[in-house]
Amino acid sequence: MSVSVRFRQAGSWLRSPNVAIGGAITVAFVAIALVSLVWTPYAAEAQNIPARLRPPDAVHWLGTDGLGRDILSMLMVGARTSIAVAFVAVSIAALIGVPIGLWAASRQGTLLDEVLMRANDLVFAFPALLIAILITAVFGPGAINAIIAVGIYTVPVFARLTRAGAIALWPREFILAARVSGKGAVRISLEHILPNILNTLVVQATIQFALGILAEAALAYVGLGVQPPMPSWGKMLADSQMLVSVAPHAALAPGITIFLMVLGVNLLGDGLRDALDPRTGS
């Protein structure tokens, strides 16, 4: 955590290969997801059972799945699901976790701080995937509940990180200066603390986003993600993994896609951290 981060030009970020590659992959996936809103090669849910398990060719670039659906189209729409679930989950978690962290830090050492942080620890103590499964079992599977299940574990991450960052800042002299100017805790948290830990939070959000994509895939893999006919990567993987020797394209495509997306986002997060952190940056 560093406060004395200097502003760097976007150009210098791009010079980091991690940011360039990771950013390119991430942007490509987001673009694909957006394109899928208006266009996919075929309708993602359109079945053509006689044409099932076709290997990749000029008609179906990535072949077809067990119901004769176009895998490329499904992956494109699946990108939308993955990105949307992970993005919304992480955003909501940040919107809840960051204020909690800021609040706890501004009351550091008080009972409130203690209670908030103990509650955080408690959430951490629950086995994550099991509770996600339990949540979907209680409220039924679907995108919203996948978001809740992924998000609930991300809240404490943000709360802890924010609190740690904010606590390091509170004794700093520029915060004292703001207090001398009569500013209250809320105002200082928003005007001075938040902007100065934003870098760290953005980097963490990126990493959580990647984890969110993996978590969504895992939930979908056990059948608790978005519901058919909406395609999702994890479900595609679960549906087709036995086919690995009959129709390897169907089994490998979703796995490689998940891998690439997570890799891209992680690289981006890593690169951003290096670029934004003066200790590791050049």
């Binding site: 408690l122 103590a125 086995p127 994550a128 099991l130 339990l134 209680v138 895992a218 891998f259 690289l267």
Partner: protein, 315 residues
């Protein structure tokens, strides 16, 4: 030290009490009647009612909560609705798989991560470092269920070096360990990647510390400095991650347990949820939370052993 420990334990007890309440209430709103589920499609309503009362499901909410809690305190986890056997017995069997698997995976993860992280840190920005960092990125990004499938494909189906899954029991320890190899590798690789990265950055941090320069000024070589001074300090953040990973591995391996059909704790709860064996779900989740809390506590104590600064605060 003792009074400090007592204080910590009291706050742990309160946390656990809250956790038990959360679990209990969450399961109360879980739709689906266990009795109806167990009796199947052709059951008569009277049979269902009978089973409900036999399971104690018709008692009031708070009675059931306190009964359960009192049982837990006495070490009685209740009886499984499905298997009709005491849950403690089930849990002991599952722990015999889950803990060895978690320990195995964690050891593997450390065995890979420590040397790799150290090499990367000492050769910072060299091609070796860049290569290792790229490899860890791949390790982190691989969905472990997919990776597990590839492992099975190559090493179980293709090469037949290991069985594709299952657990033969501890009567034959060699076979038992063999059956845990692939799952442990599948679990360990992503964890090792994370741990290697943590190791590297922790080591880079300590290698930049003043006392490392002091050690070099004393005439220690780079290698001696690394082993005698940097590593012990770098272990402090690494320990945190190891603690978190152990907790994760203990209960978070459900999907891997499914892929390798291992009778582990995670799958026990998973089956409990789908089979509405609520007693198993609440007791085992509670046990897992307890385990995580205990591990965290042990990690705190391990800190004090590594770091004398904490030793004094704690005493």
């Amino acid at each position: 030290m003792i009074s400090y420990t007592v204080g910590r334990l009291m706050s742990l007890a309160i946390s656990l009490l809250l956790a038990s309440l959360a679990i209990f209430l969450l399961l109360e709103v879980l739709p689906g009647d266990p009795a109806q589920f167990m009796l199947g499609l052709n059951a008569t309503p009277e049979a269902v009612a009978k089973l409900r009362s036999a399971l104690g499901l018709d008692a009031p909410l708070w009675t059931r909560y306190f009964d359960w809690l009192l049982g837990l305190l006495q070490g009685d986890l209740g009886t499984s609705y499905t298997y009709k056997v005491p849950i403690s017995g089930l849990v002991i069997d599952r722990i015999g798989v889950s803990i060895p698997l978690a320990v195995f995976a964690l050891l593997l993860s450390m065995l890979i991560a420590f040397p790799v992280g150290i090499i990367a840190a000492t050769r910072r920005n060299s091609p070796t470092d860049v290569g290792i960092m790229a490899a860890t990125q791949i390790g982190v990004a691989l969905p472990n269920f997919w990776f597990a499938m590839l492992l099975v494909l190559v090493f179980a189906i293709g090469l037949r070096w290991f069985s594709a899954g299952g657990f033969p029991g501890w009567q034959d320890p060699v076979q038992a360990l063999r059956s845990l190899v692939l799952p442990a590798v599948a679990l360990a690789l992503p964890q090792a990647s994370i741990l290697a990265r943590v190791m590297r950055s922790a080591l880079l941090d300590t290698l930049g510390e003043d006392y490392v320069r002091t050690a070099r000024a004393k005439g220690l070589s780079r290698r001696q400095t690394l082993w005698r001074h940097a590593l012990q300090n770098a272990l402090i953040p690494v320990l945190t991650i190891v603690g978190l990973q152990f907790s994760f591995l203990l209960a978070g391996a459900i999907i891997i347990e499914n892929v390798f059909y291992l009778p582990g704790l995670g799958r026990l709860v998973f089956q409990g949820i789908t089979g509405r064996d609520l007693m198993v779900v609440k007791s085992v989740v509670m046990l897992l939370v307890f385990a995580v809390v205990v591990v965290t506590f042990l990690v705190d104590i391990a800190y004090a052993m590594v770091d004398p600064r904490l030793r004094r605060v704690a005493s």
